[in-house]
């Protein structure tokens, strides 16, 4: 426990405060800059986020972390925050071109101040969410992280799909929010306090959970509401529609940043105070993992729309990540590291995929057939797509392999071998649906025309990358290879 405004206190909380101030500043940049609003807002947001990342990396933290009232910062929390900030940064870089006309068939985005401001507020919520030390901070963080996303999803009001996705997301989210508040009230009833310490004491002291119906009811309701954020079965129905309707940059953020926040929130609770020793929550997580893997895999196989495909693929990825919660007692540290590594890798691969989608989507609908002939239009882009897909599948030299290996290893600690077998089966099946994208990309265009494909649907002009685009593509490709071949570079996760 440290007192407020001492040095360790400030160095622990400065990044969060800086991010909050940045979000407010970005909201006002639209007013300050009359010309080139989108460009300037993006610049301010990128510079500010870079500063937040530097603060997170550079500020010293006592080995035991810093805690004050409902807020705590530990090494692991700092790693989560770095992941969120990186996802937001990548989303901002990806979104810049969508504010210009003619860069998407869906029309340009407007309101850069609102877009970047809401994105940063959502990130602030995620920061609060992982730093929570009581359910009050947790609940407010969860709401602050998700509420801006509803508005972001509906940020193209002229587009019927965008507003429909936004309203569906909002209604489902509000339902989950009410469920989590109901669950929190039961946990409060059981523990008499909202603090995680009191909760952990009650959770571990009781002889059996059936003697504590309040605790059990609260845990199950919170699990349900977090399952919604994770897009885990049976709470995954919203994901395909929302991913399809939202602006592309928002879809990218939903499938990376928001997914990371949901996983982090589940970690905060279920590897923390609600890590119930008396009841096997692992069995529930294992069941949810199997169902998510099935739903994601079967759904992804029959999609032609790229965004819906990505939604189902992210449901399957959530299934893999749920495996980390089945390790039982003593696996918390390993599970946390596996999840953080996996989310970093999955995020990198996802952004590579979205980068390709955003360039293809300039002149064609975002469907799998639109990828046809990509290798002829831009060999580099097709190679990046291949790297990203191989990493998502988990082919050894690339980063995805180690991520899946770590997750399977956590599940193996508790002897969930059936789960691992099903996971391996899902990996094998994922070969099929990820390879469909690659097959289209490397298919010679000649054969496509011979089959009588409509010529207008296959725009074959070469894709030219700007200098920034080339740099981004190279960086993503290098990351995908380096994260997999020398994960030792990521010692920072283990040592922290």
């Amino acid at each position: 426990m440290s007192t407020p405004f001492s040095t360790p206190f400030l160095s622990a909380f400065l990044p969060d405060l800086a991010l909050l101030v940045l979000a407010l500043v970005v909201l006002t940049t639209e007013i300050v800059f009359r010309k080139h609003q989108a460009r300037w807002t993006a610049r301010v947001a990128v510079a500010g986020l870079a500063a937040v990342l530097i603060l997170l990396a550079a500020l010293p933290l006592p080995s035991g972390g810093v805690a004050y009232a409902g807020y705590q910062v530990t090494r692991s929390v700092v790693v989560w925050k770095q992941l969120f900030a990186l996802a937001t940064l990548a989303t901002i870089l990806l979104s810049r071109s969508y504010f210009r006309n003619g860069h998407s068939l869906r029309g340009a985005l407007a309101n850069p101040g609102a877009f970047y401001g809401l994105l940063l507020f959502s990130t602030t919520g995620m920061f609060a969410l992982v730093s929570a030390r009581d359910l009050l901070t947790f609940y407010i963080g969860l709401e602050l992280a998700t509420l801006p996303l509803y508005a972001l999803t509906a940020l193209q009001p002229r587009n019927a799909g965008s507003i429909e996705a936004g309203s569906k997301y909002m209604l489902m989210g509000a339902f989950a929010s009410a469920l989590s508040l109901f669950g929190i009230s039961f946990l409060y009833g059981a523990a008499g306090s909202l603090g995680f310490d009191a909760l952990a004491k009650v959770a571990s002291a009781q002889p059996s959970l059936s003697a504590q119906p309040f605790l059990l009811a609260g845990v199950l309701m919170l699990l349900g509401s977090l399952g919604f954020k994770l897009a885990m079965v049976p709470f995954q129905m919203w994901a395909p529609d929302v991913y399809e309707g939202a602006p592309t940059a928002v879809t990218a953020f939903l499938s990376t940043g928001s997914k990371a926040a949901a996983v982090a929130a589940t970690t905060t609770l279920f590897l923390g105070p609600l890590n119930l020793p008396r009841i096997d929550l692992g069995a529930i997580f294992a069941l949810a993992a199997v169902l998510s893997l099935l739903a994601g895999t079967l759904g992804a196989m029959r999609q032609s729309n790229l965004r819906r495909f990505i939604a189902y693929s992210s449901i399957a990825q959530a299934g893999y990540m749920l495996m980390a919660f089945t390790g039982g007692e003593g696996s918390e540290a390993a599970a946390r590291i596996a999840l953080q590594y996996n989310l970093l890798v999955y995020g990198t691969a996802s952004f590579a995929l979205f980068f390709v989608v955003s360039l293809v989507g300039r002149s064609a609908p975002e469907t799998i057939p639109s990828l046809r002939g990509l290798s002829a239009r831009s060999p580099a882009l097709a190679a990046l797509l291949a790297l990203s897909l191989f990493s998502l599948i988990g082919i050894p030299p690339l980063a995805g392999f180690l991520g899946k290996f770590l997750l399977f290893a956590v599940a193996a600690r508790n002897g969930h071998y059936t789960l691992i077998f099903i996971g391996a089966l899902a990996v094998a099946l994922s070969f099929y649906y990820y390879m469909r994208l690659l097959k289209e990309a490397y298919q010679p265009v000649q054969t496509a025309e011979n089959r009588g494909a409509p010529a207008s649907a296959v725009p074959l002009s070469p894709i030219r990358l700007s200098l920034a685009g080339k740099c981004a593509a190279a960086l993503l490709a290098i990351l995908l290879v380096v994260l997999g071949t020398c994960p030792g570079m990521l010692n920072f996760i283990a040592s922290r």
Partner: protein, 111 residues
């Protein structure tokens, strides 16, 4: 005569949450769906303050969360109503039938 005790208060809050959930599933009008969400949230809030009142009367933690959650509910209502207004502008109608463009069938049709 029904006594004022924890069991009855919790039953009432559960009934409110269930009414809200039922309304969310059944109502066609988006405005009424938003109202149902408010009823659900208020059911949860009632559980929160009754736990505080009947079980843990020495502190006010439950009331703090209750007040903050009213703020959250207001924000949710604001975002929801903004969307309803946009939907009304686009279609002159605020029933759910207007928001059913996305889905598998359309994805298949595009293929």
């Amino acid at each position: 005569m029904i006594g004022l005790n924890l069991a009855n208060a919790l039953t009432l809050s559960l009934v409110l949450v269930l009414i809200g959930a039922f309304g969310m599933l059944r109502r066609r009008s988006l405005i009424l769906v938003l109202l149902s969400i408010e009823i659900m949230l208020n059911g949860a809030n009632l559980a929160l303050i009754s736990f505080n009142f009947f079980l843990w009367g020495t502190s006010e933690t439950g009331h703090y969360l209750y007040m903050l959650s009213i703020g959250v509910a207001a924000v949710e209502a604001a975002v929801g109503l903004a969307m309803v207004i946009v939907i009304f502008r686009n279609t002159r109608d605020v029933t759910r039938d207007r928001v059913s463009l996305l889905g598998e069938t359309k994805a298949e049709a595009e293929a």
